[in-house]
Amino acid sequence: MDLSLNPFSSGTRLRDMIRAIRASKTAAEERAVVRRECAAIRAAISDNDQDYRHRNMAKLMFIHMLGYPTHFGQMECLKLIAASGFPEKRIGYLGLTLLLDERQEVLMLVTNSLKQDLNHSNQFIVGLALCALGNICSAEMARDLAPEVERLLQTRDPNTKKKAALCSIRIVRKVPDLAENFMGSAASLLKEKHHGVLISVVQLCTELCKASREALEYLRKHSVEGLVRILRDVSNSSYAPEYDIAGITDPFLHIRVLRLMRTLGQGDADCSEHVNDILAQVATKTESNKNAGNAILYECVETIMGIEATSGLRVLAINILGRFLSNRDNNIRYVALNMLMKAMAVDTLAVQRHRVTILECVKDADVSIRKRALELVYLLVNDTNVKPLTKELVDYLEVSDDDFKEDLTAKICSIVEKFSQDKLWYLDQMFKVLTLTGNFVKDDVWHALIVLISNAPELQGYSVRSLYKALQASGTQESLVRVAVWCIGEYGEMLVNNISMLDVEEPITVTESDAVDALELALKRYSVDVTTRAMCLVALLKLSSRFPQTSKRIQAIVVQNKGNTVLELQQRSIEFNSIIQRHQSIKSSLLERMPVLDEASYLLKRAASSQATVSLTKSAPSAASGGSLKVPNGAVKPPPAPLADLLDLSSDDAPVTTSAPSTAPNDFLQDLLGIGLIDTSTAGGAPSASTDILMDLLSIGSYPVQNGLPATSNIGSPGQVTKHAPGTPQVIDLLDGLSPNVNAAYPSITAFQSATLKMTFNFKKQPGKPQETTMHASFTNLTSVTLTNFMFQAAVPKFIQLRLDPASSSTLPASGNGSITQSLSVTNNQHGQKPLAMRIRISYKVNGEDRLEQGQISNFPAGL
């Protein structure tokens, strides 16, 4: 160890470094060791130190395995590969495959070395090159070196042949067009005796079939006989010590051949016929007391299921399946469940026979088995067995583990929805699921439930009563509380007066104040979730109209949230209080029963949105389908809050931009609540801002009607009043004084005025984008001297984004004989919560003198 040569050389051997790393007690210590070693290696590389290259590369690989960055070693790999000694090449190639992957450009540099090595006389070196190529080559490299590999397929050395075959697999995967070049050699190589070559070639054939149709046909014609022979030989062979595993000769070869047979025989009756006998032989002869045997049987059954097998063969397969299913070994049972899923396509009846065992597996102690079994059950469900199956699953839901509950809940909900011809049964199951695991129920599931209830008038009484009972029993499940609260609000009078009772029900006595109690409890105690509490407030409001005597009490409850720190709740509280107190006249019509939510369009929307479609551009109301008022929704990508949120389910602060997935549930809501028919085809309808809609609703103002939006005076829809951009002052104005706000557009202001100049702002807001405002600044020169080098600058607080367009000119003529105009656009990220404010700076030259004027604009109209 010559330390004088390189002061940084650590000189440690590989094992010393490993020992040092293992001896580190803390992560920081380990990092220090690694850093030291990396520094030494880097120094050695840059010095082109020949002595310890091998060792350094080995160290580098160990460090890479631990997860540290090692890209500085990549060029070193290349140098090692280009060296002439075998050990250098060996470690170089190993480093190549570990430290690089096909995406690195450095890889291209190796192509030449690879080519030379592929033509090397030393077969081990050829083997190295083939190995490296086969593991990480890219498509270009594959194309370049394919001819070499093809040639190597024909050599005599079996080791080279087998590696060449596997390398070809990678080439064919990367460049499927080359498949035809290999199919001839592949088919002829099936006559080999060497197991290594055989297994590689069989895998190559499998890959060829996947890559090209032509290859598949060719192999079907030319290789089936050979395959049968191989399988027969290896199956009947006597004890071969080198390949024997648990008494079976080379089970891996068995399995690969079986798989190739599956690929060839799929959809081809001829081929399938050829392999019938050997499959039967393997299926019956193979011993199944060891894992190796079972692996072969597994593959055999899969193949039988995959090809056009005779019925006798199929029966054989199903029998094996049955045996596996009742095996005590968990691995075998897992595999059996897997096989059953494939068998569904072939013979559903046979699988149905095992239904009971499968159900047992759903309750198994093992996680993987439970998962598999549940998926299988889901496939097994049909109209006849859905009720008992669901009952079993729901019963199990109660006792299952928490991590499984989510899967189970999702599957149950999905089954119940698919097979719900009987609405009553559907409601019952959903109520049970909500009670047990409501917290795991996804939003769109309980939205769908509400849609269904609203569309089933005869079951509304039953629903509200069942939900009330469930709520009394326990209020821990969020979704249950939400659905219950909504129903109580909507159908309160049915609850109290036992309207439309079904035969199976017993009458319950619920007084009006009981109903209010339940809601109050939900509001105060059951959860801290804002959405739920918001829903409670709405429900209370509805009840105050349906049960007039409780109005005072409800008002008292609602008012308690007046100072709530959550904006949504505070807002609702204040507004609802206002409605109860001052607007008795319109209250009852405000809070009429909601229009029936359109099921068909909701389902359509849901299906479309599950493909993550964003646009929900609503058009002006087309033919209304029953609701008294259809109002077009907000724009395509508005923040959720301003959108009609009748169920008041989005309670979070409005984000500025909403991405598709997150808007999806909220958008459902919009549809859900029957706001306008979803007519996505007519995207021509310009969306109107919610405030404008509100104006129209209350027939206020001469706001220009957009796209035939009828200025209706029908204040039908209950939730409309609550729909507004958070904190938009105009809404509150409306409610307070019902005073017309004639100019819905924002008035222009004189933003700044000095002795020298005057600046006015005109405002424009785009409908549907309440946070953005386009301002038009116009500067007038009040003096009699021309101003030159005019420049306007503006600064805004952090929550506002400002964009300044170039000014029309930089010279301002005297005495107002002309003006400079400049556009700005601002986005107020806290629109509704904080008003717009701006500091300005104007610099110009007058008579050669520089002047600067500064000011602050605080007289922006409200609502920007």
Binding site: I169, F252, S368
Partner: protein, 98 residues
């Protein structure tokens, strides 16, 4: 005895435990899991034959050798050779010459 297969996203992990050491193999969904279990065992047996009573420290201190062995057995996700003799031959040759 727990099932040796774990499903993760759209892959499966097949694992086998030897004392304190776990061998994990990631496979896609149409792979024969039982065969992979056998393969893991073959790997361990091969290492055992080479190192003699292989243990964790052997693997750790001779990582490159283990990699070489693995290279002789698996290439790009496909099985290369299943005979221990054939697998170990080049490695033993290299050790003899160096």
């Amino acid at each position: 005895m727990q099932c040796s297969f774990v499903e993760h996203r759209n892959y499966k992990v097949v694992y086998r435990r030897y004392a304190s050491l776990f061998f994990l193999v990631g496979v896609d969904n149409d792979e024969n899991e039982l065969a992979i279990l056998e393969f893991i065992h073959l790997l361990v047996e091969t290492m055992d034959r080479h190192f003699g009573n292989v243990c964790e420290l052997d693997i750790m201190f001779h990582l490159e050798k283990v990699h070489f062995m693995l290279e002789e057995m698996v290439m790009n996700g496909c099985i290369v050779e299943t005979s221990k003799q054939n697998i170990l031959a080049p490695i033993q040759l290299m050790e003899k010459t160096s």
